[in-house]
């Protein structure tokens, strides 16, 4: 029975999906997590506690573990574990992308530099320390532009500014967010300011083997992402862009893979399309986040997690094609800051033709914080239909039927 180390932080949405995938293919799992598992003492051979922020030391612990229980693959479920996964896999002699490539992909500035050096269309950008004078930053920028904290992911802290006043305000807000992230050594205290790229945004899901990207899906993002915040909502596949545009997107993604030097494993890329061409935004050495992978099925029902696991274990995945129907997911946006008191209309939303699942992921009574500061989704809607238009309509209608009662917190943003 093959044995895989699954690196999953305690904030992951996806540990269960990967455990299901491992069971489906008969693989034994060891879960490596950043916090102790509550029942680790009952099954020490199946649970490791690792410091994801210190990959070298954590990789040593993994190598020591593997001496007694050899590992056939090391996988990370999310961004937080990818550098450690590459470090450990390299130390164990397993197929992986170079640590430097994965680290660069995780770092907004390093990735920007590599993409630009490879000749890919790139926005002009400049990096500032968090202590920089916001008014001075505003004087140096051209508009419109986008402010991004280097260390955060998933659109957190990403704010568009159309004039110096907006930029100075956005810079202060992002600096405050980074301060709230705490004095963690791993949190980069730098802020990227780059020119805003207009256009339709798409996401590409791919699987890289030997440096060649195999396209798994192109997702359209039908809701305009024009700022001031960039909250992702709808993902629908297959793309409705013309075939020639999709081919350009696929080619650009392959160039991103090459520019960063990624060699193995899943990638999730985001790109913009406008009359000037296809613009790479970023590429992450992991698969799609949240619960969104449920929008993808391959062959006769194989999940994305199973596909990734099969790939990592060297099993054949070439014959597994994405299902023929259209599918999509809505990451339910948080309408305002406060405490979630009630969710209404779930049954009505589930009755919308094409809707397969309505999943609320924030418990009643918990605080909710929208972007740019927040880090959670209210939940997810999933739909399948013959055509992507129908999927999009179903997701919008289901969302329209949902109601969220949120008690605003005094002084909170709503």
């Amino acid at each position: 029975m093959p044995r895989v180390l699954l690196l999953s932080s305690t904030t992951s949405y996806r540990a269960g999906a990967f455990l299901d995938a491992a069971r489906a293919i008969g693989a034994e799992v060891v879960v490596g997590s950043d916090q102790p598992q509550v029942l680790a003492a009952l099954h020490p051979a199946g649970n490791l506690t690792l410091d994801f922020s210190d990959p070298d030391r954590a990789a040593e612990a993994i190598v020591a573990f593997a001496r007694g229980r050899p590992l056939d693959a090391v996988l990370a479920t999310d961004d937080e574990g990818v550098v450690l996964a590459a470090t450990a896999a390299a130390a164990l002699g397993l197929a992986t992308s170079p640590v430097a490539a994965v680290s660069a992909a995780r770092h907004k500035v390093a990735a920007r530099e590599r993409l630009a050096m490879a000749g890919l269309p790139s926005p002009a950008f400049e990096v500032f320390p968090v202590e920089a004078d916001p008014d001075e930053v505003a004087r140096r920028a051209s508009f419109p532009c986008v402010v991004k904290p280097v260390a955060l992911a998933a659109s957190r802290g990403v704010i568009r500014a159309d004039d110096p006043e907006q930029l100075a305000r956005a810079f202060r807000r992002v600096a405050a967010l980074l301060a709230l992230e705490g004095g963690s050594q791993r949190t980069s205290r730098k802020i990227l300011v780059e020119s805003y790229i207009p256009g339709d945004e798409v996401a590409v899901e791919g699987l890289v083997r030997g440096g060649d990207q195999r396209l798994l899906a192109v997702f359209d993002k039908p809701d305009p992402l024009e700022g001031p915040y960039f909250e992702e909502t709808l993902y629908v596949t297959p793309s409705r862009h013309p075939a020639v545009v999709q081919a350009a997107v696929t080619a650009a993604t392959q160039r991103m893979v090459e520019a960063l030097g990624l060699l193995e494993g899943p990638v999730h890329a985001e790109l913009r399309i406008n009359p000037q061409g296809v613009w790479p935004l970023e590429i992450a050495p992991r698969s799609i986040g949240g619960l969104c992978s449920r929008a993808l099925r391959f062959g006769d029902g194989v999940t994305l997690e199973e596909l990734i696991l099969r790939h990592a274990l060297g099993l054949d995945v070439a014959g597994l094609k994405r299902e023929a129907c259209a599918s999509g997911v809505m990451m339910i946006p948080i309408p305002g800051a406060g405490v979630l008191r009630a969710v209404t209309g779930q049954e009505e939303a589930e009755r919308v033709p094409g809707i397969e699942e309505v999943r609320i992921t924030i418990p009643i009574g918990q605080p909710v914080v929208p972007l740019p500061e927040g880090a959670r989704y209210l939940g997810f809607l999933f739909a399948r239909a013959d055509q992507p238009e129908t999927v999009e309509q179903a997701l919008r209608e289901a969302h329209r039927r949902l109601g969220f009662e949120i008690d605003q917190i005094q002084g909170g943003r709503a």
Partner: protein, 197 residues
Amino acid sequence: MITITEVAREKVLALLASEGRQGLALRFAIDGRGPGGFRYRLGFVEPQDRRDDDTVVDAGGFVVLIDAQSAPHLGGASLDYVETLQESGFKIENPNAVWSDPMAAAVQRILDTEINPAVASHGGHVELLEVKDQVAYIAMGGGCQGCGMADVTLRQGIEVRIREAIPEIRAVVDTTDHAGGTNPYYQPAKGGRSPLG
């Protein structure tokens, strides 16, 4: 079916009088199982809440309703009311074994002695609902309900330990409504940890 002591009957009648409403019934149910045995639920319900398959016991002045799932486990039980310096309240004596199925009883022992003491450190608990066709059906509560690591707790802890101790168990199935959890220990987030939720 069940015995209601005179003291308990008088206490129930007094509570009914204090409610100021006539015709309420007393619903008596098994609410779960834990290390101390059965957990019970007692409460007044409207007459229209009586279900066709309820067992109805005339206690003299009020009726006791026992649901069909609880009834087989309450035969010979008694309901008393005690009031001493040490304790006061309704007291239930039940001669029935918590689980008549030895396999379920063995699973319960693992939960009581190993798993629940550990998950209690995260404010959680795990309840055995039934064992059917060698599959143990459980529900998680407290800090485990809705926890981002609930699947890991199940697969890498609960299931492994139960199957190790009781190899006849083929699988452990989590029936928890995790969306209904109100205080999960670990909560998922996009793009890494955030102090803001």
